[in-house]
């Protein structure tokens, strides 16, 4: 598959590079250079902002950083133009990574706040460049910088440089989309917290995407500096670049590496379609009207709609895979309550702005058992699951899993230790297919499988949970029962040693509950240890070996389910004390 794509790229590259040698009018070369230029900017922007949803309004800052790096080095230090380009990439990328290193650590800086931050960075950089000797006001003039004659004419040279960079950018975007990095980014787009808990190293991935995105923008800036040959702060850091890349990506379709390229070509062509002097003003309005009509009728973007239509046309081939080939989950040994402790929580505390959700919880989970976690609403059950799985950090206390302290680990590493969980309200990745949802933990979990193996594993788990027919559907197309089972399949795909289930039975019908009980028994039979939070008492009674009762963040009872549920403290916690 990749060989075919590489051949395709090479063919396109060779074919397009031959164009200047046929002596076309220079205008077409310059026009195509501009198309390539915007392709690079839009596609590179999309790598972070389209894939991961971290909408950056500051692409102009990195573009400008590259532009000024080239301009400064070429005019003030006499560095040959082509050598300035990798330096432009480095400066822009370094700048982006430095910014990202600071910003991505802060979980509240998502969505529009990230956009705001990147916009602010543009203004800051522009002002610094304007007021320091980097520019200082008069701008930098590059007409005296020699341009290496790569093509038969200067416009050909820019055409070829632009072509090379555009192809490189497209290839990089494609590779990223199809790699683990890409899958991780798309998961981050849909639900970053879940992705992190499933093992995606979100911080590192975002940083990588941002660095690549900025570096490419930097090179584009460097080449553009030579093209327009007069670099001023006003032109470089205007609102045009950040605005246009968004428009182009949305117009073309931001979920696919090729989408923004289509948008870039379309918008640039539109720009030139209406340059005749007589109807300049009307032309401006016409461009606006065209944009409106296109996006109203093609909401996924021009290319996005195309891809979507093609996907729907294709009949998904569901290979017959049954659950028989499923490997046993880790930690074999079906010993019940007498097994050694797999998980130990000691003095676990967690407060949220004055509400003490966990107030010193001590409990242990023995290998191979099914432990029920019960208690009235607000007793801290879900919080406990969240803390153990890495969603939240505990304020104090220790969590030992197979002897190792989890509290010290970053969230995505906890997944690698072999802990998986489901969510009470299912949180699948909305834009990934059911198959991709389940394959992700296999790719990022303890075994870190390659994609084809992960997908095969995913199919087995889908067969196990009865969702094989829905592999190509989007989660939005499933009903609640199916989505719960999707959660289960997803949790199982990483072959966890410890499975945490958060109210997996809520909302299910009687028959569906029977189904789920059978499934959980099978999972334990394969050797997993299960902790589940539940209100549906029937399930608790039928499945659990032991239960632990929480109330107001503390353990108030534990032991055999039938015995514990009759203890007066437990009854009081649920129902209150009877009036004398």
């Amino acid at each position: 598959m990749r060989g075919r794509a590489l051949a395709g790229f090479a063919a396109a590259g060779l074919g397009l590079s031959a164009v200047p040698f046929f002596g076309p009018p220079a205008f077409y070369e310059s026009f195509l250079y501009l198309v390539f230029h915007w392709i690079v900017l839009a596609v590179s922007w999309n790598i972070l902002s389209g894939y991961s949803g971290y909408f950056s309004f500051g692409h102009g800052a990195f573009f400008g950083a590259g532009m000024y790096t080239t301009a400064t080095l070429a005019t003030k230090a006499g560095v040959p133009f082509l050598w300035t380009l990798p330096l432009a990439a480095l400066v822009a990328a370094a700048f982006g990574i430095a910014l990202g290193a600071l910003v991505f650590r802060l979980p509240r800086l998502r969505g529009e706040l990230f956009a705001l931050l990147t916009l602010a960075v543009t203004f800051v950089l522009a002002t610094i460049v304007l007021n320091t000797p980097i520019d200082g006001g008069p701008g930098l003039y590059l007409s005296a910088v020699p341009l290496l004659a790569i093509g038969p004419s200067p416009s050909s040279t820019f055409y070829l440089l632009g072509l090379a960079l555009a192809l490189a950018t497209l290839w990089i975007a494609r590779e990223i989309q199809r790699s683990k990095l890409g899958t991780g980014l798309f998961a981050i787009h849909d639900d970053e917290d879940v992705a992190e808990v499933l093992g995606v190293p979100t911080y590192r991935y975002k940083l990588a995407a941002f660095g690549v995105s900025c570096g490419l923008a930097g090179v584009a800036g460097g080449i553009q500096a030579m093209f327009i040959s007069y670099v001023t702060v006003g032109e470089t850091f205007s609102i045009a670049v950040p605005l246009n890349v968004v428009l182009m990506s949305v117009l073309g379709g931001s979920r696919h590496w090729f989408g923004p390229a289509v948008g870039a070509a379309a918008v640039t062509a539109l720009l030139y379609a209406f340059t005749a002097g007589d109807y300049a003003v009307a032309g401006h309005a016409a461009v606006g009207l065209i944009l409106i009509i296109v996006i109203l009728f093609l909401p996924e973007g021009i290319f996005g709609e195309l891809i979507g239509a093609l996907k729907r046309r294709r009949v998904p081939a569901t290979p017959a895979i049954d659950a028989a080939g499923l490997p046993a989950p880790a930690a074999a040994g079906p010993g019940k309550s007498e097994g050694p402790a797999l998980l130990e929580a000691r003095g676990l505390s967690k407060a949220f702005r004055g509400v003490q959700a966990l107030a010193g919880v001590d409990l242990e989970v023995r290998r191979g058992e099914i432990l029920g976690l019960v208690g009235p609403n607000g007793s801290g059950k879900s919080t406990l699951i969240n803390v153990v799985s890495g969603h939240f950090r505990p304020d104090s206390g220790r969590i030992l899993f197979e002897g190792r302290d989890l509290a010290a680990l970053e969230a995505h590493r906890i997944a690698r230790t072999g802990i998986a969980r489901t969510y009470q309200i299912p949180r699948p990745f909305a834009h990934l297919s059911v198959l991709e949802n389940v394959a992700l933990p296999a790719m990022f979990g303890r075994d870190a499988q390659a994609r084809p193996d992960a997908e095969r594993e995913a199919r087995r788990w889908l067969a196990f949970t009865g969702l094989a027919a829905k592999a190509m559907s989007l989660p939005g197309e499933l009903n609640l029962h199916q989505r719960k089972f999707l959660e289960l399949a997803r949790a199982l795909a990483s072959r966890p040693g410890l499975l945490l289930l958060d109210e997996v039975f809520s909302g299910l019908t009687h028959a569906e509950i029977d189904d789920a009980i059978r499934l959980i028994r099978e999972i334990r039979a394969r050797g997993a240890t299960i902790v589940f939070v539940e209100h549906v008492i029937r399930a608790v009674m039928e499945l659990t070996d032991r239960i632990v009762v929480l109330s107001y963040g503390r353990v108030i009872a534990e032991g055999d389910p039938r015995v514990v549920m009759r203890e007066p403290d437990v009854v009081a916690a649920y129902l209150g004390k009877p009036r004398a």
């Binding site: 309004f57 602010a120 522009a126 609102i239 931001s254 003003v281 401006h284 109203l296 909401p299």
Partner: protein, 284 residues
């Protein structure tokens, strides 16, 4: 650099306050439609300028500038309703609405240039001549009106959202529209209402622009960056947000211009913004 006099300081503070109020007024409609209706309405700026030009035109024909609101606001309300109807009809997502509104911006900008040419227009009005003296400081009436309108509108919307049934229904829609509908809230009607109001507010901002500034179609983009910043900093959908954030930005820029080389102003205001974002949990 000598220490500036108190008068200079005070006058600069006022200047920053007033321009911040204008940022807030421009940002109010934008923040509401972005925060509550999930529509990023770039065309808000073009609408504001259209309003400014209409005010200029009507005032030139003899109408009192403030009275032009009686014409402009209802027309813009209708425009806002129409825009939202269009976006809802096609179920346009947030980012797609950015593109659609950009298209509207281009159309409105072309319309303005076609009718009034790209030449600079300055509305001269009786209001423009009036100044008040407060000690050694001067306060011009147009600026005061801008501040008054910004504060009034922001507070009105805040009170509406806080204390009235429709306001609370609106907030419910912003949080979870289907759920609100399930509880009997008229999502469609209220969304149209809010969109209309946002557009009407753009008209008010236009009046203030016309009172205080020279107009040119290209100026539409000059306000985009800083008002977006104010809107995002103030918290989407928070009616007091753009005003407070706008004033913070305006005052920090003005004070910089009073103390040091004015060209450093954006650096200070936006660095401050970055620091605030990094340090504070959440928004203003």
């Amino acid at each position: 650099m000598a220490l500036p006099s108190l008068t200079l300081l005070g006058q600069s503070l006022l200047s920053g306050l007033f321009i911040g109020a204008l940022y807030g007024l421009l940002g109010l409609g934008l923040s509401l439609s972005w925060g509550m209706l999930r529509q990023i309405n770039l065309a808000h700026f073009a609408l504001a300028f259209l309003g400014a030009y209409l005010t200029y035109q009507l005032a030139g024909a003899g109408m009192d500038p403030l009275a032009t609101l009686a014409v402009v606001m209802p027309c813009f309300f209708a425009l806002g309703v129409l825009m939202h109807w269009l976006l809802a009809r096609f179920s346009v997502s947030a980012f797609n609405s950015l593109l659609v509104s950009f298209g509207f911006t281009a159309i409105i900008e072309a319309l303005i240039q076609w009718i009034w040419t790209a030449d600079f227009r300055r509305m001269e009005s009786a209001y423009g001549e009036v100044k008040f003296r407060v000690g050694a400081l001067y306060v011009a009436l147009p600026e005061l009106l801008t501040l008054a309108m910004a504060v009034a509108l922001s507070l009105l919307v805040w009170a509406w959202l806080r204390h009235t049934y429709t306001g609370k229904a609106m907030r419910a829609i912003a949080e979870d529209a289907p759920m609100a509908a399930a509880f009997g809230v008229d999502v469609r009607g209220l969304s149209l209402l809010l969109s209309g109001l946002s557009a009407a507010f753009a008209g008010v901002a236009g009046l203030c622009l016309a009172l205080s500034y020279t107009l040119a179609p290209g100026q539409i983009y000059a306000w985009l960056g800083v008002v977006f910043a104010a809107v995002m900093l103030g918290g989407l959908g928070n009616p007091l947000g753009p005003l407070v954030a706008g004033i913070v930005i305006g005052v920090s820029e003005a004070l910089t211009m009073a103390f040091t080389a004015p060209a450093w102003a954006p650096l200070v205001s936006f660095s401050l913004l970055i620091v605030v974002l990094l340090a504070r949990p959440g928004r203003i």
